[in-house]
C-alpha cells in the first residue's frame, strides 16, 4: 500500500498514453487532409499528401467555392451542401422517428408475435442496402421516386439498430411507470409524448447523429437513384472535382465540417445515452 500514489500515477500515465495514441491515430488522417488542402494540385500529385500547412489555402478554398459543373452549372458546393443537409437530416429525423415508434409498439403493446416482429426487423441488419440495390431500385422506379430526395432518403432509413437501441432501453423501464401513467389518465399517445419521448431524448440524440452520418455518407445509392444534376450531394461531388487536387481536398474538408459540428452539439447527449446513466 506504500506505493499507491506512485501506482496511481503510473496507471494515469498509461491511460493517457493509450488515449493520446488513439487520438493521434484518429486525428492523423483528418489533419493530413486539412493540411493537404492548402497545397497546390501539382505538389499533391508529385509528392503525395502533405503533413505541413502550405500557402494555397485562399486559392484552393476560393476556387472550390466558385466551382460550377454540370450541363447548366447547377452543381455548386452550396447546392451540394444543401442536398447533403436535406438527405442527412431527412435520414436522421425519419430514422429516429421510425425507430422509436417501432420500439414503442413492440415493447409497450401486447400484440401477438411482437417478439417475432422484432427479430424480423432485426434480421434486416443482415441485408444492407448494397445487397438489395437492384430490387430496391425497381421499387424506387415503380413508386416514381427516381430523381427525388425521397428516393435517396427512404431506402436508407430503415435502421434495425435504432429499433434495437430503443427497445433495449424501453425494456429497462419499470412496468409500474406505465401503470402509474394509466392511472394518471395518460393514453398511449400521451404516455409516448409525455413519458417515453422525454426519457429517450438522450438516446434519440445518439441515433439521430448516427443516422445523420449514414445519410450524409451515402454515395452509391444517390449515384444510382439520381441522374439529375440538381441532386448532387457533397460526397458525390468530391469525385467530380478529383481527390488528388488541392481544391478537391478543400471540398473534403468542407464535407467533414457539418457532421463534425453536429457531433459537437450532440456530444453530451451522445455520451450520456451510451453510459445509460439517465435512467433513474
Amino acid at each position: 500500500m506504500v506505493n499507491t500514489p506512485l501506482k496511481g500515477l503510473l496507471a494515469r500515465c498509461y491511460a493517457h498514453a493509450v488515449l493520446i495514441g488513439g487520438l493521434v491515430f484518429l486525428l492523423g488522417p483528418v489533419l493530413l487532409i486539412i493540411s493537404s488542402s492548402t497545397h497546390t494540385t501539382q505538389t499533391l500529385q508529385q509528392q503525395g499528401l502533405q503533413w505541413f500547412v502550405g500557402d494555397q489555402f485562399v486559392q484552393n478554398y476560393s476556387r472550390i467555392l466558385a466551382f460550377e459543373a454540370g450541363f447548366f452549372d447547377q452543381v455548386t458546393p452550396l447546392a451540394m451542401l444543401k442536398n447533403s443537409l436535406i438527405v442527412g437530416f431527412g435520414v436522421a429525423l425519419l430514422t429516429t422517428l421510425f425507430s422509436i415508434l417501432t420500439a414503442y409498439a413492440i415493447v409497450f403493446f401486447r400484440m401477438p408475435g411482437a417478439r417475432w416482429i422484432f427479430w424480423i426487423v432485426f434480421a434486416t441488419l443482415l441485408f444492407p442496402l448494397e445487397s438489395r440495390f437492384i430490387t430496391t431500385f425497381q421499387v424506387a422506379v415503380s413508386l416514381n421516386l427516381v430523381n427525388s430526395y425521397l428516393g435517396i432518403v427512404l431506402p436508407v432509413l430503415a435502421m434495425a439498430l435504432g429499433t434495437f437501441f430503443f427497445r433495449q432501453y424501453f425494456l429497462t423501464l419499470p412496468e409500474q411507470l406505465t401503470e402509474a401513467a394509466i392511472l394518471d389518465g395518460a393514453g398511449p399517445v400521451k404516455f409516448f409524448l409525455d413519458i417515453v419521448v422525454p426519457l429517450s431524448l438522450g438516446r434519440a440524440g445518439a441515433i439521430f447523429v448516427i443516422a445523420f452520418m449514414i445519410g450524409w455518407n451515402q454515395y452509391l445509392w444517390p449515384l444510382m437513384v439520381s441522374t439529375d444534376d440538381t441532386l448532387y450531394t457533397l460526397v458525390r461531388g468530391i469525385r467530380l472535382i478529383g481527390q488528388e487536387s488541392g481544391p478537391g481536398m478543400a471540398l473534403v474538408v468542407i464535407t467533414i465540417l457539418p457532421p463534425f459540428v453536429l457531433l459537437v452539439v450532440f456530444q453530451r447527449w451522445f455520451y450520456r445515452s451510451l453510459h445509460s446513466i439517465d435512467t433513474h
Binding site: 411507470l177 401503470e179 394509466i182 435512467t279
Partner: protein, 358 residues
Amino acid sequence: MANVQLRGVRKTYPNGAVAVRGVDMVVEDGEFIVFVGPSGCGKSTLLRMIAGLEKITEGDISIEDRRINDVSPADRDVAMVFQNYALYPHMTVRGNMSYGLKNRGMPKDEINRKVEEAAELLRISDFLDRQPNQLSGGQRQRVAMGRAIVREPKVFLFDEPLSNLDAKLRVQMRIEIKRLQRRLNVTSIYVTHDQTEAMTLADRLAVINDGKIEQIGAPIDLYNNPASLFVASFIGSPQVNLLPVTFDGSRLINGELAIDGFSDLPQSTPLVLGIRPDDLSQASHGQFTMRVDIVEQHGADNLIYGALHGITNAEEDGAEFCFKASHDLLPPLESSLSLGFDASKAMVFDQQSGQRLI
C-alpha cells in the same frame, strides 16, 4: 368516500394459472383494509384488479355501487402507490404530482393549490422543484403518496409501498400512512406480506392464501382467534409454536409428552397444538420441559428457543419452541426450563384441513 364491493371475483390467466379463486368482501367507507399473505397468494392481483390493471375473469367489483369491471383505470377514481414508487424520472416533484390532474383538464391554479396543499401535508414542500433522483427513498415514497392524494380519489390502493425502505424508515412511514389515512378518511386497500405492517395498519385484516380469503377481521381478533392453522402461523411475531399431537380421549399425546385439560377432540385424526410464545410461562411443574438452545435478547424481553423433551414427530422447523420471557430471565444454554400454559389459550387444529377445533 366510497365503499368497495367484491363479489365472486376470480382471476385466471390465459395460461390457465388461477391467481384468485372467488373473493367476496365489502370494504366499508373510510376503512383501512390490509391484504396480507405470502408471496404468490394473489393479494397483489386482487389489488390490481380493483385498480383496473388486471382484467377480472369472473365476478364483479363495484365502487360506491357502480360496477367498474369495464371502466378504464383512469376513470375508476382510484389512486395507487407502487412499491418502486414509479415516479416519472424526468419530471420534478411538482410535475409528478400534477400530471394526473393536468390530464384531467384541471385549471392550472387549482392544480398548484392542490399540489401545494398535499406537499404541505406530506412535508415535501421544499422539494417541489427537485427531480426524483435527487430525493431519498422516504421522500420519493412521500411524493408517490402525494401523487395519489392530489387526485382526491375515492379509494387509495397501496401495493407494498414500504418494501423498498430500510427498517427504521419503514416504521416511520407506517405511522405516517396511518395518520394520513385517519386524517383524509379515504377508503384504503393496502397489500403487504409483512404481518407487522398488516397488524399495525389495518382496521380490518384479510389474510389471503392460495387465492382465497382465509379469514377477515380486526387484527387483534385474528391474532387471538385464528380460524385456521394458516392464519395462526401467519399472524404473530414471533410465530406461534406448533406441535403435532394426537388425542387419546383426555390428553394430547406426542411421544412421552401428555398434556391434560382438553376434551371433545377427534381421536382418529392427527392434530396440531398451537401456543403463542407469549402464552407460555415458567412453571415449577409445567406441561413442557425445554432444553435451551438460543436466547435472543430484544431489550424489553428475551426470546428463548429450544427443543422440547420427549417429543418424537415434530417437523424439522417446528422442532424448536419459542418462549417469550421478560428480559431478566436469562437461562444458561443447554439448561432445562419447565414451561406451562393456560389450556384455555391453547389452540388445536386439524392437521389435514387446517381447521381450528378449539
